[in-house]
């Protein structure tokens, strides 16, 4: 009886991916417990969102990909409208207007766009697959350029960059001509000075501090210096769980969210880093494998995008924490504290599993 229920529950679930994800989540909970100064409430809070995320994952995994295809445009338009709403009636905190107050709970429409943008682009490009012209790539580009402009204006450079990356992945995998890619790269480079002038002072600062953190050891450089100290002093095997002095004694800023990797790295050292990185590599590898096995263009693009975006998050976060990229405010997926981010990621894995579990049925359509 129980066995049948279990089988039913795991029907659309990719158990391999699930094991990897769960392992990373366990690591994340232990790290969060340490990073929060043994705050069990915070850990339970995170656990609640993991639970919610799992339910949503289970649901999204059961939904057939063709429904996503159908819902792509409506969800995208809804997301865009919410972004506009943020612009006018959004709530500000720390000088950024990112939140929308929906009475019972607050939400960040930019988080929805993380999924809505690639789904919409994959939908559009797969629809135009047999008769694709240059104009189609331009239209597809607008799908991400529009929301990115709104998001960067909030300002939320991190999410803006991630959605941009996610858009590029889709264009690239859909077969965007190399000439366009090279052209776009050159264009972007020539636009760089213009973008620079439109960055907020704190964003410019972060980029400048990256070049020389010691310039401002107590200001913006403080994050980078303290996280480098945390990681470096962790050494090969780390200081041990709950024993990281940088983390435990408050030297690390934002250590339950964006800088949680520094806490992990201080306590578990290089070996811990390699194990966690290995776990992430397995998740990415499994995702890309699912993508390559997908039977149609929409699911292929969508699945690959989920894996690649997951990688991008990890890379930007770790590069930022270890001081090879500016501090852009990107959480470490599956590890950092944060309900919205956690649920969105688990939903995205749900979609991935949906692609995987429905691949045999899609082929003939």
């Amino acid at each position: 009886m129980l066995e049948r229920l279990f089988l039913r529950l795991q029907k659309n679930i990719d158990s391999i991916l699930m094991i990897f994800i769960s392992s990373a989540l366990v690591v994340g909970l232990f790290t969060l417990y340490s990073a929060s100064g043994r705050n069990i409430i915070l850990v339970l809070n995170q656990l609640f969102y993991i639970g919610l995320g799992f339910i949503l994952l289970w649901i999204t995994a059961r939904v057939h990909p063709k429904h996503y295809e159908k819902l792509a445009l409506p969800i995208y338009i809804l997301g865009l409208l919410l972004l506009f709403a943020v612009m006018f009636v959004g709530q500000s905190s720390h000088g950024a207007r990112r939140w929308l107050n929906l009475g019972a709970f607050k939400m960040q429409p930019s988080e929805i766009m993380r999924l809505a943008v690639p789904i919409a682009m994959a939908w559009y490009l797969s629809k135009r697959e047999n008769n694709r012209h240059a104009i189609d790539y331009i239209i597809a580009s607008l799908f991400f350029i529009l929301p990115v402009i709104l998001i960067i204006n909030q300002p939320d450079l991190g999410t803006g960059l991630l959605i941009t990356a996610s858009g590029f992945y889709i264009l690239f995998l859909a077969g965007l001509n190399w000439k366009f890619i090279v052209g776009a790269a050159i264009g972007l480079f020539s636009l760089a000075p213009i973008i620079w002038t439109h960055l907020h002072d704190y964003q410019k600062n972060r980029l400048l501090i990256l070049l020389d953190p010691s310039q401002d050891p107590l200001g913006s450089g403080y994050h980078t210096i303290q996280s480098s100290i945390a990681m470096g002093s962790g050494g090969l095997i780390g200081k041990g769980w709950l024993n990281g002095t940088q983390g435990q004694l408050d030297f690390l800023p934002e250590r339950t969210t964006d800088f949680i990797f520094a806490v992990f790295s201080e306590e578990f050292g290089l070996l811990g880093n390699l194990l966690l990185l290995g776990l992430f590599a397995l998740i990415i590898g499994r995702s890309l494998m699912i993508a390559s096995q997908a039977k149609n263009t929409f699911t292929r693009l969508l699945a690959a995008n989920i894996g690649l975006t997951f990688f991008t998050y990890i890379f930007i976060n770790i590069a930022m924490v270890s001081g090879i990229m500016p501090v852009v405010g990107v959480p470490l997926p599956l590890i950092s504290f944060g309900g919205t981010s956690m649920t969105i990621i688990l939903i995205s894995f749900g979609i991935l599993m949906s692609v995987h579990s429905h691949k045999e049925l899609v082929g003939s359509s």
Binding site: I229, G235, T245, L274, I284, F315, I324
Partner: protein
Amino acid sequence: MSYTKNSQNIYKSRYLFKRRLALLSGLISIAFLIVIGRFFYLQILKYDFYKDLSENNRIAVIPNVPNRGLILDRNGVIMADNYFVYSLEITPSKVTNLNKTIDNLKPIIELSAGDLKQFRKILKESSSLDSVPIKTHLSETEAARFAANKLRFEGVEIKSRLFRRYPKGAFASHLIGHINRINEEDKEVIKKLGWQQNYKGTDSIGKLGIEKYYEARLHGTTGFQEVEIDANGNSVRILNSTPSIEGDAITLSIDSNLQEIAENAFNKYRGALVALNPKNGEVLAFVSRPNFDPNQFVGGIDVDEWKVLNESLDKPMLNRAINGLYPPGSTVKPFVALAALENDIRKPPFNIKDPGFFTLPNSGHTYKDWKPYGHGVVDIVMAITISCDTFFYGLGIELGINKLSEFLSQFGFGKATHIDMFGENAGLLPSPEWKQKRFKQPWYLGETVITSIGQGYTLVTPMQLAEAVATLANGGLTIQPRLIQSIKNSQTGKIETFKNKTVRELHFKPENLALVKEGMMNVTQPGGTAASVGAGAPYKIAAKTGTAQVVEMKENQKYNPNRMNERHRDHALFIAYAPAEEPTIAVAIIVENGGHGGSTAGPIARKLMDYYLLKKVSSNKEENKVGPLESEYHD
């Protein structure tokens, strides 16, 4: 056709997808390698570097400042100790608006203009992380009132600080010296001596006197507390702690009672006194007047107070005992007399018939005796007793400046005594070579004449003069004079004492020494220049009076103290030792503008000796009973 094209398209697009996905996977691998490389760099290559940084972050070393060692007199009377005071302190780095904070403090704690001025001064000299006192010696009411308002003042706190105290105030201040806040110069010295570690947390250092000379012993050893701190600087727990070790206690050789008698005896006069035990070199009294209150300096002296001290014509900051330079005047005569006797001239029964002046052969230049018509028949003993200038003029010429200078230098004239105090002046003992070097001029015979009676170029410090008298009293043996008797190790309780150190051992013919001593003993007897000093004493005092000119007299001008500006009056000098037969105290006194040595400096010596030898305190009334004798009006 359409189908074929479609399926071809699908095939093509899947192939392209897989190729591009493979390319991206390659890029992902490269990205992972970069990140792993970074890990390797941070956690393996730079591990030691970051480990140190992390330890520095985490551990704060808080110095435990030691109690400064006590200074006691030979009987254990406290001359310098420490006490706790509450002080209100501000750490500038923790305060957002300093001026506003100070304004807000004003209604709670009374802050005088002086407090604020002092605060600004210290603020300028310290780093923003230092805790700077804005008001010391808070009353209990003030401390309580601040405690009630504490939350309003971030970066302001009440600390209990150890303060140095000199319970006897200005008493013996030049001897004890004082401490003051460490300035840039002191920091250099501390660095040069390699004391930085031990001076962490210490804010004051000995600046003068014993406090300065014995700084290394008095300071003690700073302890350290290693505290784990969080990012806000709050201590989380103590990791390691070494206690501080209190500075050693110093016992001075002076007797504060004797010192007090000496200081009081000076009354309003400026001058200096050094009393020694000739047998062991111990300084029994060390006076420089006027003095200052060392308590003013503790915690930093007020600018105005310093101005008063520094600009006063009386020069209260000048340590006259080791820095005051005075012509020895007639006090040099016993030494000159011994020089002659040891060179086999002027031995009794040699005598002169003093006409009241001396004529330099070949020049006709005359030098007057202080007594207008002379002393009559004078031999060498009498010459000392009555201080006959004429006798010494001729003696000097016959002996010659080279022999005279050489002999006097044996008594320490022109040489530092190396007393345990910094900044001692070496004085000046002239010689032809010195003059050639200094003025590029030859030595004149006339200069020999006046050198023989202690005028001219010769300059001595009271300390030097005291050492010379002690040597004479000791029959030629100079024991290194010193200001302290012992040092008590605060940790082991072991008391370190000092062996007598012989500086010089001179051998004189006993009969020569006896003649000089006889002359000096007669000085305090009826007929001597200080007869009143010896009057009624149950012990014998050997002495010599002296007068040092402050302004030069024209040849025919008569010295009249009543018609002169007080500061132009002669300095009075007096050297003595007692009991004359077996001396245990030798003293040198200078009273600036005191006139004649026998009448102003002499009574001070008598009071000192009465107390030292008889434990008797002679009152001022008693002194007046015996008025100065006629012979004392000049030396």
